[in-house]
């Protein structure tokens, strides 16, 4: 059973120390980290991806230690086999869509690389965009390309931090449907109760850096519904 855990991970902000002490199973293909703003959802993803360095702590992912401050282990982001997509697609603006998707699979031979790029663009319905540059794409198209780029190197884990928040409903639904068809394990962060309610996921309820509940999504969230709506300002 793949498991993800953080032990006494401490980040010091200008506003004070922020401690994450989180353990949860990745048994379900989709895991939703849910909680109010400031709970530490995005921070967890950034630390997992290796983009944020905690002051101390230990993180293991599927039995592999990716960070351990006591022994000095810190696997760099590019060697964690993790894809990471946020609300901001962050495509390389000087490269075409094709080149963007191919960026992380340079090690493949030319024909295999081209085939993988085509597969990924097809997966997100973006084949016709291959020769365009990011400036020529709409918001939804950029997000499709960002997802294709993140998945091209066959990551073990895909981290999604509210990737659909800025999109219109039609684009968001279409992309979500395509994401749900993936075999890649996904950790999905959201504070949109309506958005996550439809996901066949297990949920990790996070409040102030602490896991307060885990389990099947509806089973976990239903008893907390009133309190969550209050926390979320609903």
């Amino acid at each position: 059973m793949p498991e993800l855990s953080t032990h006494d991970v401490t980040l010091r902000h200008h506003q004070g120390a922020f401690t994450l002490d989180v353990q949860f199973s990745l048994e379900s293909p989709w895991t939703v980290i849910f909680g109010p703003s400031g709970a530490g959802k995005s921070t967890i993803l950034r630390i997992l991806a290796g983009l944020a360095s905690p002051d101390s702590g230990r993180i293991t992912l599927a039995s592999q230690t990716v960070l351990d401050s006591s022994t000095g282990v810190a696997i760099p982001p590019g060697r964690r086999s993790i894809g990471y997509v946020t609300q901001q697609p962050a495509l390389f603006p000087h490269l075409t869509v094709q080149q963007n998707v191919a960026f992380g699979i340079r090690h493949l031979e030319s024909a295999a690389r081209a085939q993988r790029v085509t597969e990924m663009l097809h997966l997100f319905g973006a084949e016709s965009l291959a020769r365009r540059t990011p400036a020529q794409l709409s918001g939804g198209e950029r997000q499709r390309v960002a997802l294709a780029r993140a998945l091209a190197p066959h990551p073990k884990l895909l981290l999604l931090d509210e990737p659909l928040a800025a999109l219109d409903d039609a684009s968001a639904n279409d992309i979500l449907t395509r994401l749900l068809a993936l075999e890649t394990r996904v950790v999905y962060v959201s504070h949109d109760l309506a958005e996550i309610w439809r996901l066949p996921a297990s949920v990790v309820l996070l409040e102030s850096g602490r896991v307060t509940a885990t389990g099947p999504l509806q089973q976990v969230l239903a008893p907390h519904r009133d309190r969550l709506l209050k926390l979320l300002g609903g």
Binding site: G78, Q88, A90, F103, P153
Partner: protein, 222 residues
Amino acid sequence: MDLQALALTFRLAATTTLVLLAASIPLAYWIVSTRSRLRPLVEALSTLPILLPPTVLGFYLLVLLGPRTAFGRVTAHLLGHPLSFSFAGLVIGSVIYSLPFAVQPLTAGFHSIDLAILEQARLLGAGRLRILSEIMLPLSVRSVVAAAALCFTHTVGEFGVVLMIGGDIPGATRTLSIAIYDQVQDFSYAQANRTSLLLIGIALIALILLYARRGNNGARHA
């Protein structure tokens, strides 16, 4: 017109620009990406030549490159001549004197790149060299061009450092700015005028090209 001084000046400016770009690109990358406590010191040292009188820099370089120091004696022994009062000495002085004009635009250009883009490159397995060559430099072309133009024109117009390190040796260290000084000393004002107008023209053309390339992205009114 002192054509020998003109040729030497262009050779010096071109060499200085190439050396500065080669040295400043990794330095600027280090400045924007490091967490070292030495960063403020390195940034301050790379900016210092802007604030120093050229004669101060020239004086210390003259001492460093001359026979009074071990460095000066070793290089003189290896090269067969001292670095001071030579073209190589002029290049060293010009590189140090124009360093801020390369480092400043490059660090500004690198800083302006969206951090999320660089993070994606790291996540996709790119190392530092690939991030620099395939992401940062292509996204900072304007800054690289600006750095090159500023270094070239600044070197063309140098006087104090060049005079202190190189003296006034025709064909070896006499640049256009020193030629103007000589022409004025000889009361050849017409010649000095022509040479000065040439320097003004070079600087103006470089700046016009620079600002034309920048386009009107900064325009605030329709």
